[in-house]
Symmetry: C2
Subunit: 208 residues, 2 copies
């Protein structure tokens, strides 16, 4: 999702002044990264732009609505990368490997390198914002596509119910995609070793 | 580990007045549960007992030393339950199922029902206290015993390196044993469904 294409996110209202909306999200994104979501107020955002808080409320219902839009933009990059891998022209086995690796690398980029995105995603998970749910669904759909393809091609077993297999992979992968666990998994080399071991375990479980 | 058998924990020093030491840990445990570890000071603990802070420092180096002892006692119950399951007289398959279930139920008891133990264990993980490391080793050893037994009995495959298999199960099980993830897994029924799916995935991966 591009930053100028977010008019359908929840809690937003007219006027449909795209440029202004984009500017608000860019400034909010920057303030959330530097100071964290919790410590940034709507007044802070308004001040940084040089307008009144009342003016900002013409574009967004609340600070949460701004937060959800910023969070959706951050997660959409990861979601798109995951979807792209699931649709790639490769064996299901290779795509599953690549997808789990993308989850780890995108997770590290978002939650470790861009530190305050970590903060806003944690707030989003804690408060069960719709954006987190949508992101989880995107990941689930990518897993489902790969496993279904692998069952068709004969790479994976077909006895276990598809939804049980996909849910188990989703929960297992949560150890990599979850911001709180990511920040405690250890150094990059250690994470790669753990990811390889878990990926191999998942692939062994899928053997026909 | 019983509460009166903790003289070998780190950061403790003489005099070896067991009764007093036990009392300090009991009072600290209570204060940590009610107010949280971060908000409880050594002065608070001393006041609750009716002694001076200086007196407490004759038994423990620091607030952290008290925290580590309280945390070790809380985790030891879980560690003992896990070890007991691994040594039970049952098939490796059954013991692995039971062990993963014990991780979930003990985790829920510790981190969801005893809310402020959650807090002290999170502090312990964040600060990499030795007690967390020891607890992780206990769980790893239980997994290793069960997988080794299952390889000997012919229940599990033997091609994959033992340490890779055990590490992968350990990381996968972290989704159940980790206090932060536990608190966000959803309701009990949902957790049981997810646990069953992941347990089945692990067992399929172990098929010979």
């Amino acid at each position: 999702m591009a930053i100028d294409n977010c008019e359908n996110l929840p809690g937003q209202r007219g006027p449909a002044d795209h440029e202004r909306r984009t500017q608000i999200l860019q400034v909010a994104d920057e303030l959330f990264r530097v100071h964290g979501y919790r410590k940034t107020s709507v007044t802070d955002i308004a001040k940084a732009i040089g307008v009144s808080s009342a003016y900002l409320y013409r574009f967004f219902d609340s600070k949460q609505a701004i937060g959800e839009s910023v969070c959706a933009l951050a997660l959409s990059t990861m979601g798109e990368a995951i979807r792209a891998v699931s649709e790639r022209d490769a064996s299901a086995t290779q795509r599953l490997r690549d997808m789990l690796h993308t989850l780890l690398s995108e997770g590290m980029r978002l939650f470790l390198k861009e530190r305050c995105i970590h903060d806003i995603v944690v707030v989003s998970i804690e408060n069960q914002w719709a954006v987190t749910e949508e992101h989880n669904n995107e990941i689930y759909e990518a897993i489902e596509k790969i496993v279904s393809d692998g069952r068709e091609s004969g790479e994976f077993e077909r006895k276990t119910p598809l939804d049980e297999v996909c849910m188990a992979i989703r929960v297992t992968a949560a150890a990599y995609a979850h911001p709180v666990l990511l920040s405690r998994l250890g150094n990059t080399e250690e994470m790669e070793t753990k990811l390889a071991a878990v990926t191999n375990l998942i692939l062994r479980s899928l053997a026909p």
